[in-house]
């Protein structure tokens, strides 16, 4: 199946999706994508070293003074891997502080393994330049994405989904030397949660895998409470040291006061069409489930669906969040039995998770990990996701723009493609950039998993989904072939867009949920 091509000294293999991908990523052999649900590795999960209570204080007090002391105690040295989580989103103050401390220690060539990065992490660019950080495996947005895109990073970026990050750690693909877990509340033993404290972010699910598998775990908090810190979303039994800091995040940027619905009439229309599709195709029925995030269109989708559910007297069994005020209201109004929450986006979400037993915090293990005994992403009746591009075969891109620049992470996106009806509500054109193309610049999701593309100019159903085509027959929604929508937009834009001019150098590998390489990102100009 695979053809071998030499590209700047890196061996390339053609994967099952027809994309040329590197056979080796950052010095480790990589498996090319084999197809959806095809690759099944054998062997055992990895495990952290055995530890003894004899080496930890019997009084349970693991508090040390200062992040740098903790890193020195952890034995941080050149070439190690440091992990962090992104529950503080753009209000995180810990990620940058770690590498400032590492720089002060004179440590070089670290690999940063965040669950995601945000624009607030832009100062890491300096540490990439000065050699403290060798490369990043995790989502790169804004200036970090730009840095990587331009080919300036020494190693190859590796983009994984949230579930793929858990998979990579448990399978031993990524070994975390030191995990630093910023925690809104913690006790001296290391138990920690995200539901209380000045930096409350709801939950700490993205850090769970780090706490279980890392060699050394440091909890950092600005709200140290006496033992026991309850609930213990992170268990102190996995934690080596606890550091108290004055501030670990900017609360106004961690969660918003209230999530705002988009004002764009086009996006609202798309969201409304997606909700109508779920209703008209018979997916909205008692006991159903759906997933919706806090992005403008996804949020709008949930709000329109809520009104339709009320009108039809339909109740969901569970909603997968990204929770917001709107999902919390649905829980409180009895429109759903449960919220299964991966991250909280506003203060209502945090409050509800703390106080409402029907609002369950989750981790990528329960929701997304493909190398487990199932995960609930595949049980969702309707899943609403974004995309930067989608092609006529319904393949979708979520990490690069049409000009090839790396600008977004994968998040839970690839994992959610397992849902029973995957809907991409996206505008058909963004400022003269057609969203439906002949071939996506970067393949992140295979077309066989994308069921419906909802644009303001019409709804395209994947021809493979004859059941959905049949179910939507009675609807007055504008259901059209995807090629028609593409042609209409291209007529407006002045023809099909020229292909991006990309360099030869591979700057990042895109992993599929099973750890295989589905595509790679090439360098863009200058």
């Amino acid at each position: 199946m695979s053809t071998k091509v030499l590209d700047m000294g890196i061996e390339l293999l053609e994967n099952a999706a027809g994309r040329l991908v590197p056979a080796e990523v950052n010095g480790k052999p990589a498996t090319p994508f084999q197809g959806v649900r095809k690759y099944k590795p054998t062997g055992n999960k990895t495990a952290p070293p055995v530890r003894s209570c004899a080496d930890y204080p019997a009084d349970g007090n693991k508090v040390v003074t200062g992040l740098k002391t903790a890193l020195v105690n952890a034995g941080l040295r050149d070439g190690m891997t440091i992990s962090t989580h992104h529950h503080f989103r753009n209000g995180d103050m810990v990620g940058n502080a770690i590498f400032d401390a590492a720089a002060a220690m004179g440590v070089k060539d670290l690999m940063w393994f965040p669950s995601a990065s945000f624009p607030c992490n832009a100062p890491i660019v300096d540490h990439l330049d000065n050699g403290v950080v060798h490369h990043i495996e995790g989502s790169m947005n804004g200036s970090l994405g730009d840095y990587c895109s331009r080919g300036k990073m020494r190693g190859m970026g590796v983009l994984r989904s949230h579930g793929g990050r858990w998979q990579a750690v448990q399978d031993g693909e990524v070994h975390i030397d030191v995990a630093v877990i910023a925690a809104p509340t913690a006790d001296p033993f290391g138990n920690a949660n995200g539901v209380t404290g000045p930096s409350a972010c709801g939950l700490l699910g993205f850090a769970l895998v780090d706490s279980i598998y890392a060699d050394h775990v440091i909890v950092v908090t600005d709200n140290l409470v006496d033992f026991p810190c309850l609930p213990w979303q992170i268990q102190g039994n996995n934690v080596d040291q606890v550091v108290a800091m004055d501030s670990i995040g900017d609360p106004s940027k961690i969660v918003s006061g209230t999530t705002q619905l988009t004002k764009s009439p086009d996006r609202l229309l798309i969201a409304e069409m997606a909700a109508k599709f779920v209703r008209d195709a018979g997916i909205m029925r008692d006991g159903f489930s759906f997933q919706a995030g806090a992005g403008g269109t996804a949020l709008g989708f949930a709000i329109f669906l809520r009104e339709m559910m009320k009108k039809a007297g339909v109740k969901a069994r569970f909603i997968r969040g990204g929770s917001t005020k709107y999902l919390v209201e649905m829980l409180e109004e009895g429109l759903t039995d449960y919220i299964l929450d991966g991250q909280t986006f506003d203060l209502d979400g945090v409050r509800s998770m703390r106080d409402n037993p029907g609002h369950q915090d989750t981790s990528p293990f329960t929701s997304y990990n493909f190398h487990g005994k199932g995960c609930f992403a595949s049980m969702l009746d309707a899943t609403v996701l974004g995309a930067t591009e989608v092609d006529v075969d319904f393949n979708a891109n979520v990490v690069t723009h049409s000009d090839g620049r790396l600008l977004h992470g994968i998040g839970g996106w690839q994992n959610c493609l397992a849902g029973k009806c995957v809907i991409l509500p996206i505008p058909s054109v963004r400022d003269r950039i057609p969203v439906i193309v002949d071939r996506v610049t970067t393949l992140c999701g295979p077309g066989e998993l994308v069921d419906v593309v909802v644009t303001e100019r019409g709804i395209a159903i994947n021809p493979w989904r004859t059941d959905l085509l049949e179910a939507a027959k009675g609807s007055d929604l504008p259901i059209r072939p995807i090629q028609d929508i593409k042609a209409e937009v291209e007529a407006l834009c002045g023809g099909p867009p020229a292909a991006p001019k990309l360099g030869e150098k591979i700057v990042a590998a895109v992993k599929w949920v099973d750890g295989t390489v589905i595509d790679c990102v090439r360098q863009t100009g200058g």
Binding site: D403, G404, D431, I433, A491, G494, P500
Partner: protein, 403 residues
């Protein structure tokens, strides 16, 4: 083409971080050296080269041979780029005749009808192309590209070109293609840029006499005749003053081209010396007058706009009141108002059921050759039949179930 250069440098549109789907153009004429084109664009990798070719072709067609041309593009569509370049060239004093006409796009050639539904008409500022691109997908009955109040005087010339090119390019998805022209002579000049490009209906602002309507009608007829265009172009005068309201009937019946009469309440309330309120008692007489004048003239009475975009419930109440006063439609300033307006203008269940019974009785009478239509013991007059037919047609157009 002849060149009468009056100035050496001209620009069009504006630059800035907030500009979207538009571009800024500056042209500095030179004596030699050909075209020196500096284009920066957000879509360089996709459309950079084709845009440069487009601009060069246009400059050549408009007779510009030596110039420095600077363009900052924030994702403008080709019809916008060509309009901005043409605006700058015209401002340099070039006589460009009909200008640089982009080829007509698909979905720009459908016709309209005198008595089509005009429940909603969406106002779009004529110089802001980004709003026009997707206007049709929101499915208003009409889309108004506005050249009047939403366009500042210094931009009037370039707005005409944007509107002209939008008419030639954008598929408004079955919506009636409307343009609100300027007042007076400027409005008559607008017609040259609008009438030849399959406009369906012209809104005439601040009308206070039948003569104002006749002048627009005559110039429209002239242009259609000169260009040998057969399609109908209709007129909708806007009453916006006490005098206009008093003369509503003569305005509504000024010419055959008039298909609807509407009222602009912001200007009207100012003119009678008061302010607009949500209760709208201050304009009750004028609105009623417009309804009566329009009905007497056999044209559609259309209400003003509801300005508070966030107040959906207020809008719904307002539409229901408009409907009860006799209006057939109203204006909107935001796409999210359209569905609310259509829903509120939809016949109520009882109203529809009764209308269907009347229409059936009428058809039955026709079949049996009876001159008189009766329903039970009641005789039904022709205007009642006509209204019932209209209600049934409206319900069908809105896809209301037959039950």
């Amino acid at each position: 083409m002849t060149t009468t250069t009056t100035s050496q440098i001209a620009e069009a549109s504006r630059r800035g971080e907030d500009v979207r789907s538009d571009c800024w153009v500056e042209i500095t004429l030179a004596d030699s050296g050909g075209i020196d084109l500096a284009l920066t664009t957000k879509v360089e990798s996709m459309y950079g080269e084709s845009t440069r070719q487009l601009v060069r072709d246009e400059l050549a067609a408009l007779g510009v041979t030596h110039a420095r041309v600077e363009i900052e593009d924030a994702g403008a569509l080709p019809f916008v780029i060509t309009a901005r370049v043409e605006a700058a060239v015209r401002r340099l004093g070039f006589d460009v005749g009909d200008g640089y006409l982009v080829e007509c796009g698909p979905g720009t050639d459908y016709a309209t009808q005198r008595d089509r539904f005009r429940r909603s008409r969406l106002y779009l500022p004529g110089n802001e192309p980004k709003f026009a691109i997707n206007a049709g997908v929101h499915q208003p009955d009409g889309i108004i590209l506005d050249l009047e109040d939403s366009v500042a005087p210094p931009q009037k010339d370039e707005a005409r070109l944007i509107v002209r090119n939008a008419l030639r390019t954008i598929d408004f998805k079955g919506a009636e293609r409307m343009v609100r022209i300027n007042q007076g002579d400027r409005g008559l000049e607008d017609l040259d840029f609008i009438v030849p490009h399959n406009v369906h209906l012209l809104l005439i602002p601040k009308v206070e006499s039948a003569e104002q309507v006749r002048v627009v009608d005559a110039r429209t007829r002239e242009i259609l005749h000169e260009r040998r265009i057969n399609t109908r172009v209709y007129l909708m005068p806007i009453v916006e003053s006490a005098l206009g309201a008093l003369r509503a009937f003569e305005i509504a019946s000024a010419t055959d081209r008039v298909v609807a009469l509407t009222i602009g309440l912001e200007d009207y309330t100012a003119d009678i010396g008061t302010a607009r309120t949500k209760e709208a008692w201050e304009s009750f007489w004028a609105r009623s007058q417009v309804v009566n004048a329009a009905r007497a003239a056999g044209v559609q009475p259309i209400d003003s706009v509801f300005s508070d975009v966030a107040d959906t419930e207020g809008l719904r109440r307002n539409v229901l009141e408009s409907k009860s006063l006799g209006f057939d439609g109203m204006g909107c300033i935001h796409p999210r108002q359209i569905a609310v307006i259509h829903e509120a203008f939809a016949p109520a269940d009882e109203e529809l059921a009764k209308a269907r019974r009347i229409v059936e009785a009428f058809e039955e009478a026709q079949r049996r050759g009876l001159g008189v239509v009766s329903l039970g013991s009641k005789m039904i007059d022709p205007p009642v039949v006509k209204r019932a037919q209209r209600v049934v047609r409206l319900a069908e157009a809105m896809g209301m179930p037959r039950s």
